[in-house]
Symmetry: C2
Subunit: 268 residues, 2 copies
């Protein structure tokens, strides 16, 4: 068995969007090996039940644990919102989500304590961001909106189209009305829409993307646990539970150069 710090970090997402988190991790932790798992057999998680998301997340986490990861980063906001307590309870390795880091980043950025949250139906319904935010900023005032069409629009590659801006205007109306000063982009796909979202809500609103903060907190946690790797060039390994060719195609569309993807299907 490799010494603990030499083992890879697992990065788990419902599909392809988590590559934005992988990218931030790779930049901040260039010595670490990263194993990415996209659960493309069940994607998207955003309209599924907490029970199903927890079941899928556990199956992926257990696979990555068997692969010998030393820590698990749950890049998917929906899985972080719904399954993190279960994953932390069931796994023996450190488990980090994106909700806590995103909320802490927003708490650090807001001036007036008015924070907007956008995410999938399931993430918004869970109230996980509001809860995490209140923990660090008890007086925070929040406004949340689900934006179900953003993920398919990003996956289609329509990041800068007029249609996408029209959809954003529709979704973000209530957020603008709530006069937030900070907006959490609570889904891994949304940072790709930053220019459009910025145009719609106005340049005064700070847009918070959990990826950077998550990478920072991952580094701190590994350091604390004595698991940080300090030399060598990190390797990347990619798994998908379905349709690896589509994974490659969409990853490239998102600007991430993935060389190959291994298929690891689940029983159903």
């Amino acid at each position: 068995m490799k010494s603990a710090s030499r083992r890879p970090i697992g990065v788990f997402d419902s599909g392809i969007g988590g590559l934005t988190v992988l990218r931030a991790l790779a930049r901040r932790l260039p010595h670490e090996d990263l194993i990415y798992f996209g659960d493309t057999a069940h994607v998207p998680y955003g309209a599924k039940s907490p029970e199903a998301v927890t079941r899928y997340s556990l199956a992926v986490a257990r696979f990555l644990e068997k692969e010998g990861v030393k820590a698990l980063v749950v890049a998917c906001n929906t899985a972080s919102a719904l399954a993190l307590p279960t994953l932390k309870k069931k796994l023996k390795i450190p488990v980090l989500g994106v909700i806590g880091p995103g909320a802490r980043a927003a708490a650090g950025a807001t001036r007036g304590g008015r924070v907007g949250i956008i995410g999938t139906e399931a993430t918004v319904a869970s109230g996980a961001y509001v809860e995490a935010l209140r923990r660090v900023l008890p007086k925070a005032r929040t406004a949340s909106t689900a934006c179900p069409l953003f993920v398919p629009l990003v996956e289609e590659g329509w990041w800068s189209r007029g249609v996408t801006e029209d959809v954003a205007r529709e979704y973000l109306g209530p957020i603008k009305k709530a006069k937030v000063d900070t907006l959490i982009l609570g889904c891994t796909h949304y940072p790709l829409l930053k220019p459009i979202i910025g145009r719609v809500v106005g340049s005064k609103i700070r847009l918070i993307d959990s990826a950077e903060e998550t990478a920072k907190e991952t580094e701190a946690r590994l350091d604390k646990e004595g698991l940080l790797r300090r030399s060598g060039k990190g390797r990347r390994l990619f798994y998908a539970s379905d349709a690896p060719k589509r994974f490659l195609r969409v990853a490239r569309r998102l600007g991430v150069n993935v060389k190959s993807v291994k298929l690891h299907p689940f029983d159903i």
Copy 2:
């Protein structure tokens, strides 16, 4: 065991869209009991691999077979396109899809033999409609386009919004250019966009919705097999593999009054 003809018909879809087929079946076969299964744990099928779609379809079909259905109607275009041969081979009951009926309806409707096909990525990539069409109309000229955003737009309830029309204009450009005279709406959700699609492609193009033709062919097949039920008031039973509350909510948004939905999850 009930006499064969008194047993219910199984109707299987990846999610909620298949209710348009259920409705057509209920109208044409009012005496039949119908058991609908929406595989909401795996929805959508449109961007998944043929292997995964076949695996999911078989699991649902086997469940319905155990429930005692006398025939299975695969309402989902993607499942019909990718899994029908396997289902027909593995099940002992008659299995009907929507591709054949849709293609035959288009062949009957076209004047110049130029037929457009729109559907999910997986349906279009399979070439199933083109193949089925050529079988009845060997000289048919076809043009196919995947419209991945139509399903989320319909599920969002945005059937008559300007945004949806803009998306339709984008997708249907190549279809218009190909000067088809008939257009197959190759996904259960698309008939809900008929007004917009009609406006975009123009009123001269005939829009083909497989639901009616599928109900007609189901009736003929049951009659031929001596399985048609000729009296009584048919009952409806609904299953979903995840998130039954969301199923109810979206079903109502689609105008189908579903009273209750039973949850039948799969192991993963």
